[in-house]
Amino acid sequence: MLLLLGATVLLVASGFAAVTIQQSPRWCNAVGASGAVAGCLLGLLSALRALLGASDSSLRLAWEVPGGAFFVQMDVLSAFFLFPVLGLSALAAVYGSEYLRHYQQRKWLGPPWFFFNLLVASMVLVVVARNGVLFLIAWEVMALASFFLVTFDDESVEVREAGWTYLVATHVGTAFLLAFFVLAGRASGSLDFDRLSVAPTEASLLFLLAVVGFGTKAGFAPFHVWLPEAHPAAPSHVSAVMSGVMLKTGIYGLVRTLTILASPPAWWGWLLCGIGLVSGIGGVLFALAQRDVKRMLAYSSVENIGIIALGLGIGVLGVATGVPALAVLGFAGGLLHVVNHAVVKGLLFLAAGSVAHATGTRDIERLGGAMKRMPYTGAVFLIAAIAICGLPPLNGFVSEWLIFLGALHGSISPGRSAAIPVLAVIGGLALIGGLAAACFTRAFGVVFLGTARSDHVTRAHEPGLAMRLPMLLLAAGCVLIGSFAPLLVGGLAPVIASATGLQTPQVATHLVSATRPLQYVVWSALGLLVVVALLAGLRRALLADRRAEVGLTWDCGYVQPSARMQYTASSFAQPLMHLFGVLLQTQQRTVTPAGFFPRAASLITKTPDVCAERLYQPAFRGIGRGLSSLRWLQHGRVHLYVLYIAVTLLVLLVWKLG
């Protein structure tokens, strides 16, 4: 525990140090990044010790804040979540040290490092805090630190708007969490997690508050509207950390809530499955509609959080209906996807950041053919794309497979209490997988393959070592997690036990029904690689003494094929967007060619976020209109404001004393 606290102090201290020496950008970068990496490594050491069987260590200090106590504890659940938090943050810090160098002419580099390290430290504290007040303070620090990181490039209007949206959204979520803790603490008389006990009647209300509060941070639809604004606006290493791990603190909060509110009823599982479906399908559909690569990745995060929610949903259903296989496999899939998504999404954001930084644009319709100039970045992006679509032999396949297997166990078990969610999960997850494949083939193909659509790509170049190394390590992580899946899934037993409330040996026996097939999966993956090598060798042998010429792409006789003849990203997605038009509500403006010699024609489509457009904007406009009618109260005459105070005072006195 002391080691972890020491790591936190090191993070904050190095942040301060970075600010004090920001006159020299090189040293500022070096201090900030090395402090972050050192702190993360120390923390990982502490988490590893906890996960390998050391008993839960805790620290409890008194605090004058009413209801508060500095109570931190490291149990297996916290240790499990610390791994992605610290691992990805360390790699993002290394990436950021080179990425930020390109801003050193026009901006001070002290604040981004200070807030980055503060963000990591606050995320660590969120995961180990065991007192409501401490938790909320750490939550708020996390929100503020990330706000300042998101608005780093605040010369641009969009970034400022995005920052405001993010700030409002996160505070609305925190308001729900405040209500949650107040209600829970009032019933139990204390805000320490181990002393919170809740009556069953209140549990449902508390669960709903937790779903909204933590769901806003995690990115459940329809609370996700801040995600597509904030993640593109932030610098790439910050987007990676936000999308990869900050969203997961919301998931952590939800799982911790489930452990506090024991014995869930079945409708909680239904709710989580419903949220998972809506987020998953909605997220990937909107990702298909985006031109900005980072906005697309943000929507894809919404989709993956939906998949995690599906896993948690069937896990909760399993606990509620007393089918242990369902519970174990659902939670295993959901929790493993937390780690997998952190690795894969971190990698995607870092790669997209490299491309955007090298070419100067985030618009995929201006890119194309980047693979030839950025082979490493292209290769790792491909690995990440395969992983995020849940295809073997990489890590994304393992977590989706676990969730599928859980749903299948649910479908073959007798009884029908879990019938509809299981049906929805199998069908929904299959649809999400297909749509994700569409989305990421589009992204990879339009950005890296084909020919360049504009001259932005001529400026593309591979980034330096500090930016390439984290990407390579994350790609290796994808492959390794996929290859060592049986061991890793087996090792999840204590974590799942603490999340579901079952006993570890019971969980371990049910997990065997997943780890044994996983061994076959790993062997199949190995077989796949062997066959690929054999076929490639065969082809090389066949072509050895023949001519392999280079020609033009077949162009149906057009003598001058141009880059504009390629399929654009919008065209690629158009059939799917048309099919799901009722969900996307794409606005379209067409100027059709007119006359015999048409001069110009255009087609403009815009797909704003449907929740923002149809739900939040009208609500906020209505609130604004309602409050404007009260504007006559604000006339600017100070002495009348004093009159308001005096009248209130008198009324209160008369009322209370009369």
Binding site: K372, G378, L382, I386, G390, L391, P392, E400, W401, F404, A407, L408, H409, S411, I412, R416, A419, L423, I426, G427, G428, L429, A430, G433, G434, A437, A438, T441, F444, G445, L449, G450, T451, P517, Y520, V521, S524, G527, V531, V532, L535, R539, L542, L543, R546, A548, E549, V550, G551, T553, W554, C556, P561, M565, Y567, S571, Q574, P575, L576, L579
Partner: protein, 303 residues
């Protein structure tokens, strides 16, 4: 360790291209022609393997990797599919998901190889391919989940081993629904009419054919062989369901399965002769209908 599973592997690997000639012969017979010789696909493959290759300057290593990875995925998938009610070489709980994902891997690499050429034709095919397969995935997985539920097992081998005459008597309506859904998936994934027309080479009407337009030589041989294998594998899933011959005699079961496979090929030929390709905007309706059939079957069983 018995040799039976590997017999199927060998049978699939050797006989898959025959399905093409069966289908084509059927269509020819219905049209009043003689049609190609039965071994024609093998001659085509041999011809292609003997050729050189021309690669477009726009392409990268992804284009060269596409056919290789795709065929490898299908070869691994072949080891998962049971034959005649006997176990496949590789069988474990949840292998149906691996099967569907391997098909997804094939699709992924075919699509990015198509996008690598920078041509509008391949892009068009790729776009339609991802649309239709996104809609077909739920149909396939829900259908397999329904079979899993009926037979109470989670591995393709044990699932199909459990589909015998008794099970059919009990669950006939459900299995009929499933057979319809799996037939639609079979036609859609293998680019058969009414989803796609494998015989024309008009770019605007194709989905699968146009995605491989720029491949030639050994690459095209790999792709052609992979299409044959896909026909065999998806067909075998359908045959395993509708031919519930599960006796103790492996030769009888194997013979029934092979006959069923040929029957499916002939059925495909008949369908292709009697129908025209549907308008592209109607194809999603067909696929959604297949998903609904599968979901209905599963729901009826979960009741």
């Amino acid at each position: 360790m018995s040799l039976a599973p590997f017999v199927h592997l060998l049978l699939a690997l050797v006989c898959a291209p025959l399905l093409f000639s069966v289908i084509n012969r059927t269509k020819a017979m219905i049209a009043g022609r003689d049609g190609q010789v039965l071994l024609q696909p093998y001659y085509d493959l041999a011809k292609l393997l003997k050729k050189g290759a021309v690669y477009s300057g726009t392409t990268t290593w992804v284009f060269r990797a596409g056919p290789v990875v795709g065929l490898a995925a299908l070869l691994v998938a072949t080891a998962l599919v049971p034959f005649g009610g006997r176990a496949a070489p590789v069988a474990f709980a949840g292998d149906l998901i691996l099967f569907a994902s391997l098909l997804g891997l094939l699709r992924f690499f075919t699509v990015i190889a198509a996008l690598d050429t920078g041509s509008s034709f391949e892009g068009m095919g790729a776009s339609r391919e991802v649309t239709f397969s996104a809609l077909a995935e739920p149909a396939l997985l829900l259908g397999l989940a329904a079979v899993a539920r009926q037979t109470g097992s989670l591995s393709l081998s044990t699932m199909y081993a459990g589909v015998d005459l008794d099970t059919w008597v009990v669950a006939a309506p459900v299995f009929a629904l499933l057979a319809g859904a799996l037939l639609v998936v079979f036609l859609a994934e293998n680019a058969r009419i009414p989803v796609d027309d494998p015989t024309t080479h008009l770019e605007l009407t194709m989905i699968h054919e146009v995605m491989v337009l720029d491949h030639g030589g050994p690459d095209l041989a790999f792709i052609l062989y992979a299409s044959a294998l896909k026909l065999w594998l998806l067909g075998m899933l359908l045959v395993g369901l509708v031919v519930p011959v599960r006796t103790a005699n492996p030769w009888l079961d194997g013979g029934a399965a092979t006959a069923g496979m040929i029957g499916v090929a002939i059925l495909t030929g008949i369908i292709e002769s009697c129908m025209a390709r549907w308008r592209l905007t109607r194809v999603p309706q067909l696929l959604v209908a297949a998903s609904v059939l599968s979901a209905l079957a599963l729901a009826l069983m979960l009741r």
